[in-house]
Symmetry: C2
């Protein structure tokens, strides 16, 4: 941890850190007796940001109020952060309709689809009035509201932002926040933006209406650092900025020079996990109890664990399995495909259609090959994380074949606790591929035959080869944990010319 001594902005004794993200670390509710209780947020982003909070104890985390009780906490935290489990939290209440427009009409359909390349472009999107309204009356005011909350929080603590203030803005719901932060806090504040989803190539970005494509880029260039999970996304961002705004860039150095003469660093910090957290979990009684259910599944275990998202490539995964069973009849009854799928965004029509396509495909494959004692695909949608971890421990093959995926933390979580020398099949379009691709079986997510071949190769791979690969994967993951992810960012914040001057 030499980085800490050399590059930690806190060494100045001055830094005040503010995290801003749409989802926060806790949600509040009322228990039966009317008292306030809270539950911790889940998911990779919250875990990662918790690591930042552990590292910087004085940090404040600003997030959207999600529940009625959150709204009460939001009102209370206008004066000073609300403390819970050692975390300083400020919740922001948004106008309900504005939030709905931001979340369900702009961020999740339009921005998510553009970033992951999910549109059927001859027909969709059809951008129009509704898009403009979601932008003007939803996305923009919610982002302004966030910036306002940051400014108010800093103001309340000791008189606003100074050159010691560092604001970490997270992900695609908050692209306009840097613009409104800069307006309120001035040039001295250090703003870093982290984008957790893939950055598209310039032509993909230009699907957006002109006001959004240019507005977002101009806002992001108000940050001092714009960060991604891979060098590939960082490169695509730089090209997008150059081609859409015509701004001066240095692609090799990863620097954008704005018209105002500021330097924006564009960087890759591949997000990771806390391996100990998963190792502890893997040893827990609740996980061990679930392992019996896994052991009951016949044959080798082929596993996938995903949200039901169009980007995850679940249907093609089943088609590949189908093809493998077709090409290699001897593999039938020798393997069970456990698909742990979490329902998601079910009120977006494309997601409902995708969930149906998944169910139909599972039914087809099971009908085609199933026997009295063997169900080729076991579809499991129960909300049971210990069961997932039990599966992580016991898979022989893990399939991560995403069309596109910012990082895919499953590939790290599962590999790190796997006890069967399981083989990782990894899409070349998952962010994790930059780190893990060398020791995985790489697949083109669109190529069913290549995936069928990889499934067969993984299921028949020699023990030596499996052991060698898993060792290399685990060592790679353990050498870049969530701690290193945090350190690398803090080091660059300290090193950025702006803080030297």
């Amino acid at each position: 941890m030499t980085a800490r001594a050399e590059g930690n902005p806190k060494a100045d004794g001055e830094m005040r850190l503010v995290i801003v993200s749409n989802r926060g670390p806790v949600t509040f509710s009322r228990d039966d007796s009317g008292g306030r209780e809270h539950s911790r947020g889940a998911g990779g982003l919250v875990t990662a940001l918790n690591a930042v909070m552990r590292r910087e104890e004085e940090a404040v985390w600003i997030a959207s109020a999600q529940s009625e009780e959150d709204a009460r906490v939001a009102a209370e935290s206008r004066e000073a952060p609300y403390e819970v489990e050692g975390l300083k939290v400020v919740l922001v209440e948004h106008d309900e309709e504005a939030y709905e427009l931001m979340y369900n009409h702009l961020a999740n359909p339009l921005l998510w689809f553009v970033h992951h390349g999910l549109y059927d472009l001859p027909y969709a999107p059809e951008l129009g009035d509704e898009t403009r309204r979601a932008w003007e009356e939803g996305y923009v005011p919610v982002n302004e509201n966030f910036a306002e909350a940051v400014a108010r929080t800093l103001e309340a603590s000791d008189g606003g932002a100074g050159d010691e203030t560092v604001i970490l803005v997270h992900d695609y719901q908050l692209y306009m926040t840097p613009l409104y932060l800069r307006e309120r806090l001035g040039e001295d504040a250090f703003i870093s933006v982290f984008i957790h989803i893939p950055w598209p190539e310039p032509e993909g970005w230009r699907i957006l209406p002109v006001y959004a494509r240019e507005g977002i880029l101009r806002s992001l260039l108000q940050a001092d650092i714009v960060a991604f999970h891979t060098r590939g996304y960082a490169r695509s961002f730089i090209r997008t900025v150059r081609e859409v705004l015509g701004v001066e860039v240095d692609e090799e150095e990863g620097v954008v020079r704005t018209e105002g003469g500021r330097e924006v660093w564009v960087r890759a910090y591949p997000i990771s996990i806390d391996p100990r957290e998963f190792e502890d979990l893997a040893r827990s009684e609740e996980v061990e109890n679930e392992e019996e259910r896994i052991e009951d599944l016949p044959g080798k275990l082929l596993l996938r664990v995903d949200r039901i998202d169009l980007s995850k490539n679940i249907v093609r995964g089943f088609h590949s399995y189908d093809r493998m069973l077709q090409q290699h009849p001897e593999m039938r009854e020798q393997v069970t495909f456990l698909a742990r799928l979490q329902p998601s965004r079910e009120d977006i029509p494309e997601y409902a259609a995708y969930a149906e396509a998944i169910q139909e495909t599972v039914d087809q494959v099971n009908k085609k090959y199933g026997t009295g004692s063997w169900e080729p695909i076991v579809l499991s949608m129960e909300d049971n994380f210990p069961f997932s971890v039990a599966a992580y421990k016991n898979y022989d093959v893990l399939l991560v074949n995403a069309v596109r995926d910012g990082m895919n933390l499953i590939a790290k979580e599962a590999v790190v606790v796997n006890e069967k020398d399981g083989v990782l099949i990894l899409s070349e379009n998952a962010g994790a591929h930059e780190e893990l691709g060398e020791h995985a079986l790489t697949v083109n997510p669109y190529d069913i035959d290549e995936q069928a071949g990889a499934l067969y190769e993984a299921l028949t791979m020699s023990d030596d080869e499996r052991a060698r690969r898993v060792e290399a994967l685990q060592s790679t993951i353990r050498s870049n944990t969530i701690e290193e992810w945090v350190e690398a960012q803090l080091k660059d914040i300290a090193a950025h010319g702006k803080r030297r001057g």
Copy 2:
């Protein structure tokens, strides 16, 4: 034409020029009495290559046999080119199944879709056995057959290829031809490849299965020049080569250095038209006769002329018109939208579905706004080029809103003969936009509202503004005709270091 004196390879008195393209300048058939007759090919590519043939009279044009009579000509032209209308032609007969696999299973669905970004990626393509078979048993042998025909033709004429031989290979059906040409002709032959469709960004290219994505790029890098219609496509090609093959490139200079140390120049030569050809046509009696039918249409004339292709964005065009009529009721009955659409690739299911969607949309709009005396959209699919030219002369607004389009020659043909100071609405994703965008109304093809706004602006634009724009457009088109397109290529062929040495 100073270029001719300075840079014409023919000045050496040595150059032998061979054009290779899938479609040729003529197709042969038998008349009733059993005699051979021929008809001239149509389309922008054939017109353009005819300009090359006019420029280089000794050139030979090699193309696929398309008819039974073509096959007879193919057999005859194995010894020496067949001469017709002053053109030297060699036809190549392919194995029927191989040609079908190349054309209808590899080039038109897969390559065309990848180049134009037409896939609904969460579901399609599903690459597999069928793709590999279309590649191995169709695309590759057809391309080898072309290369063989070139070698045979050169051999028959005077003993093979020398450093004076220049081979111009055209378009996406022939991507593997440079590889087999180089094998047969050696390093001395000068090979230029011209790609007439948009080049995708690297991630779009990587949709292809690994053997095709790498195989094609390696073959193209056997050429000495790889040419496109726009600087944007040339840039995307260079990036694709770097990211997929890891080859050394100079993006600024437009040069790829291959492992063997050769320099491949990557260049943009925007294709054009022969303005005189269209001016003559516009004055012809057959066109003048058709103008009456145009004059019968009520109100101003909004025109589009397209093949029915998923890339042309025909449905969104009608939706934009719908929105404009909704927002501006005063425009109803003041404009007629004449859509000249040419059926295309009807046996590809996606195309059949698209043709249906077009018909449904037209019916909806006409039902919604139509009156006894006004049909808002007139859908015209008759095969009648004079009628199209009559419409070119008389449009008030021309809509070219393609999702992606290599160049779009309609935007040049129609503008150059228009007599109404018509306004051009042009997609920023059409190749023509690099040259003509400045004087057109630019639209994002996905943004219905922006297109509706552009339609209204165009229909209500002042006479002065219309005149100013059309003059600038016509002057731009006349300053880069098909003659300049040919000259620029021949000049670069002469200038390429390889020929200096």
